[in-house]
Symmetry: C3
Subunit: 356 residues, 3 copies
């Protein structure tokens, strides 16, 4: 795909400032872009949990030196000798541009691959692509235009909605429900039996998990994740929630809508997350914890008590964010504090001697 700068401006709804005749065929960063690339500047958003930002302020500094053929910006930059595409929301325009110049990949082949094994009473809607070696068990339903890639397994009674994409080797156990427009990346496991045991007669005995998993619309799940089925009812992932790679979600967890769960997070059994909760990388939640809507939990934190809505917490065990940062600073100063304590002790000794 190749567009002139002017055509691209029209395509992403931008106001063009400068020459619109250059050719653009890709998107690049300020540093990497060449003359046929469009680049972009996004104002930095700082946030102490270190979630991934697309770009930051360093990009502005290098813009003059950039070889990019054009730049997407939110405000006109005076004196810049480069075509500018001015948009209201750079993030949205960037997504549009990336889609325009994305790699041309072949659509998954509609129909059921001859090496797939689909139960006679499974209901596969039109437009569905079922890849090589896929196993689809009894009474499974797959909605229109969904893609089930090679090596996937969908267990008895499970339902996958419309426009979903299950990448290769995803395993969905029985009695799970996946909504519409859901993406699950390769090698993830949905509906495994949770880690619930009773110690009876000297041995750990598994508590049967009669429940399932319910994944709502527009959820996106990374690669090599695990979402355990419930003992009763469902483990629930709320609509629009996004989950990174290698995340563990235990039995009976209920996650709200629009949450962000970063990589290597572990959420223990029966936790409840409100809408818009953010868990940064490697966070752990003890079982039965409730986290209020919009709360942000910093990287590597360990949460062992309920957290209200709208909080920022950090640390293991997690405490209020600013307090945690202050504690980190003081902890690092402990050697100095010990030294001060010694000094005070000496001065007191001096005073005591003087008194005697």
């Amino acid at each position: 795909m190749r567009l002139t700068v002017a055509q691209l401006a029209e395509r992403i709804g931008a106001e063009l400032v400068g020459d619109g005749s250059g050719q653009i065929s890709a998107v690049g960063t300020v540093e990497s872009a060449g003359e046929n690339d469009v680049t972009f500047v996004i104002a930095p958003k700082r946030n102490y949990v270190h979630l991934k930002n697309l770009t930051d302020v360093r990009h502005i500094a290098g813009l003059e030196q950039s070889r990019a053929g054009a730049v997407i910006v939110a405000r006109r930059i005076e004196g810049l000798a480069k075509p500018q595409l001015i948009v209201k929301d750079v993030n949205a325009a960037l997504i549009e541009a990336l889609n325009v110049f994305g790699p041309a990949l072949k659509a998954a082949a509609e129909g059921i691959d001859p090496t797939a094994k689909v139960a006679a009473d499974a209901r596969i809607a039109k437009g569905v692509a079922v890849g090589a070696g896929v196993v689809i068990d009894d009474r499974v339903e797959i909605g229109e235009n969904s893609v089930i890639s090679s090596g996937c397994k969908i267990g008895e009674n499970s339902k996958v909605g419309r426009n979903c994409r299950l990448d290769s080797n995803v395993v969905v156990y029985h009695n799970c429900t996946i909504g519409n427009n859901v993406v699950i990346q390769a090698n993830s496991t949905i509906g495994s039996t949770g880690f619930g045991y009773s110690f009876i007669d000297g041995a750990h005995r598994l508590i049967p998990h009669n429940g399932g998993v319910s994944i709502e619309d527009f959820v996106e799940i990374g690669a090599n994740c695990c979402i355990d089925r419930a003992k009763f009812g469902n483990t629930i992932i709320g609509a629009g929630t996004k989950i990174d790679n290698l995340v563990q979600i235990a039995h009976n967890v209920v996650i709200g809508k629009g949450c962000l769960i970063a990589s290597l997070v572990g959420i223990s059994g029966s936790c409840k997350l409100g809408d818009g909760v953010v868990l940064a990388g490697q966070v752990g939640l003890a079982d039965n914890i409730e986290i209020g809507a919009g709360t942000i939990v910093g990287a590597q934190s360990g949460v062992n008590h309920n957290i209200a809505a709208g909080q920022r917490v950090l640390g293991s065990p997690a405490i209020e964010g600013k307090e945690a940062l202050q504690v980190f600073v003081l902890t690092k100063r402990l050697p100095k504090l010990v030294e001060q304590l010694k000094q005070l002790s000496k001065r007191i000794e001096g005073l005591e001697k003087a008194k005697d």
Copy 2:
């Protein structure tokens, strides 16, 4: 499956108090149960490592309001207008009830799926189910009634015992031995080569791992776990040990019997765990660490020295549990301690001035 309350009482060996004629078809929590559900009350067990408990004391409070058709309890609750099923061990009765009312799933089809690729000299016992696309290499042995689900790979010379269940896409490398009644959930990897390198002539060179993995009877392993093969001898998982999802067990680790290893734990090379050790979520053990029998390591702890039997440890680096909790409290109070230090300094100054 549908039973009367009286039939259920008989089935789980309970003493029935109240009306036995109601119909029960499922198990539910106190909050979620409807009139055809049996619910249950388990006395809470508190424990600072936050392992998953089935239920807790909140369930008792809601019992009066619960719509459940009957309740399994350890002691008769006076004044409760609901049929009670009184048992000695609620956990055991609950497991029984959950099994009674579990989903009716089709048994795996006995025999070898035509798309599976089984070596001519592999020995597949009677009653075994080998799923679609499975690859079973030379001299592998699979014991009676085991189920090897779709997409699994079992490498040369490996042995799987009786009544095992390997879920879809599990990979077992060569020369591994899996006992009887073992469960391995989807996408787990057994017998991968460990992370052992020597730095020779300016490059990391892999140390060959000539050993294997030995998984004893009644071990249960979650989804997306990794258990590395040994350099010499075997990495060993003791009988009855239960392992959650996304757990890493390195080469030459020896785990005792009846241990519980929660999600996202990493056990480094050559560690030795006694029987009944509990590692809570996201724990890390440095290499060559020994943990004595029955010791509990709290969530997110990092253990860098040997721990005796029967201990509770916590923190990174891990120290004795109560001490760790005290340290956490005092760490949080550091800003106050610094303030106190300042105050003392001022008072000393005052005294020093007065003296002069």
Copy 3:
């Protein structure tokens, strides 16, 4: 394979001291070795990040009692009644010996398994083995003598070099480039879409990842790892870098040559690691962090700022290593410090009263 001690000495280039007529058929540790095993002694290397060492000084102590038929050592041990194989580099000799006595495994069958699905325009070099159920998409290239095991999926346009080994159920997405002599163990995922979202009109919208992944020569990747594709350009793993199991590497990360990344590490988006960086187990890096060449990050550390070359850092948040160890010691002493503070306060009170 069975050699005399003298033959083994010749094979590994060792000077033989003692009787060379004994039969050797395996390598064992000092504790486990029998009379037909050769054992070895490696001087311990201590290092506070607890990376896995092959052996340690304990092995020397037990050598007299060892039943081993011979021992590989760097210096002659006086008075030892056992044949000694003296070499310059015990690690290198050990690797050689382990290779000599390694299990005799059947080579992967050259050619394309009939159940594999290979695109017509894929270019599969000679000597390649493509296993059962593998899917290879359009324009993929696989270099000479590489092994693609059962259940793998290689997406459009991706390239795998010569002498590579992709174990069962590895998924490589489109537009990824894998060099020569690369090993990727089972169930790993290469080229998944990263965790990059913009919040637009009340929902998280995925930022398309138009880039790929570039894995250079001699990289080894463990089981169940995830390496995300880049938004622009490539996520890069430098030549000779070794990665343990269950590691997460996010979009646009650039890792230098010869790095060691231990299990359960999470590297956030756009981090840059110099050559020879070591990340111990469960380390987390915030996004956009740069780590200089040769720096070692201790287990469970969380790095939230750039680190220069040649450092040792530890803790969450990570600080200089020795400082971190001192802080750990003092943190543990906090209860005593608080007690001291109280004592000082009392003494001051005494002085103040005396003054009045």
